[in-house]
Amino acid sequence: MKDEQKLQVSAIRNGTVIDHIPAKNLFKVIKILGLVKMDKQVTFGTNLDSKKQGKKAIIKLSDKFFMDNEINRLILVAPEASLNIIKEYHVVEKKQVEVPDKITGISKCVNPKCITNHENVIPKFKVISKKDVALKCLYCEKITDEDNIDIIL
């Protein structure tokens, strides 16, 4: 099994490996992290078997390291994602996505009558559930749950 995984996605020398992304959200993660515009090498695999998640996806980025606040933007689509920081083919650090208490931007508010969907206002939320992510809009007070998250780029 380990050998198969290795074949599917090749190793990188320096960079970041993002693992445990839900397969269905891979392209959202790519969008959120702005990988489309990146000039570094990017490899990704999806629909890989995962005991924990069923089908998972993985992204390998050469010579790219993230700040915590960039990574925390993933909480809405990949709350269980883990990051392996690679230096000279070795994992030198592991990080988990951390769900913050407040979120600015990232998602739109689900409520079509919310001011944030009508004027140029950056949506702000209080995170009221970290497990099944649920966000309470600090403007209209309505709750945006996981199924209704609409990522802003």
Partner: protein, 302 residues
Amino acid sequence: MKNKSLVSIEDYGKNNILKILELAEYFEKNPNQKILDGKVIASLFFEPSTRTRLSFESAVNKLGGSIIGFTDAGSSSVSKGESLKDTIKTVSNYSDLIVMRHPLEGSAKYASEVSDVPIINAGDGANQHPTQTLLDLYSIKKTQGKLEDLNIFLVGDLKYGRTVHSLLMAMSNFNPVFNFISHPKLRIPAEHKLFLDNLGIKYYEHTEFTDIISKADIIYMTRVQRERFSDPMEYEKTKNAYVLNNAMLENTKENLRILHPLPRVNEISEDVDTNTKAYYFTQALNGVFTRQAIIASTLGLI
């Protein structure tokens, strides 16, 4: 509370609520005081609401302040496509306080972020209407002599009614028991029940409007709106199933008072109006004193 906007009832904790009610009592005894002399209050109604607007304007006039503003968006620069931010920024140059009503939810919170003067939310869509809640509380305190340990019945549209949700939040500071009476489709939302559960507040849900009201200290009636139902037949049936009439009040408690945020349609029969337990018109008068208290307190004049 000075210079602090009133956007949501959650902005006022228990102590601030009690302070406003005390002030309202003071203004009821001494309604005409020129403490707003030289102050300009902007009254921005981006959607019409005659009752709320007149109540605010009456409060300002009794305090000797002057009013600028508009009564609907059509007669303002909004019709030229100006953003809310620009309108608020401009008007905050001309006034000491802004009272605003807007159809979009969260608009008052946003206005409070861009304004240089305090904002009082006079209703932002279906979200919040905190001055209504404070006047409801004032009415409850005045008729019951206290806010603690009351049995409060909420009837009608408990799902969408913002007055219901804000009242529930505010009254939760005072150890109440709630009884919810509504059509199954208009039940109180799960998030509010969770809120009560977390505080250990007792509540009971009913779908029939029966003699259980004999236990009530307060019955808070609300209007069932036609647009909540896709089937007009169902609306007609529901509308008529939750009507309070005079005969139903026969075995109710002596201290019971009936509140309604108004306007009513048919959910309270007119034969109730002359019953001493009917309180909804006095409730509207209390709105003036409560708003006097809120304005004076926000401007730090008292």
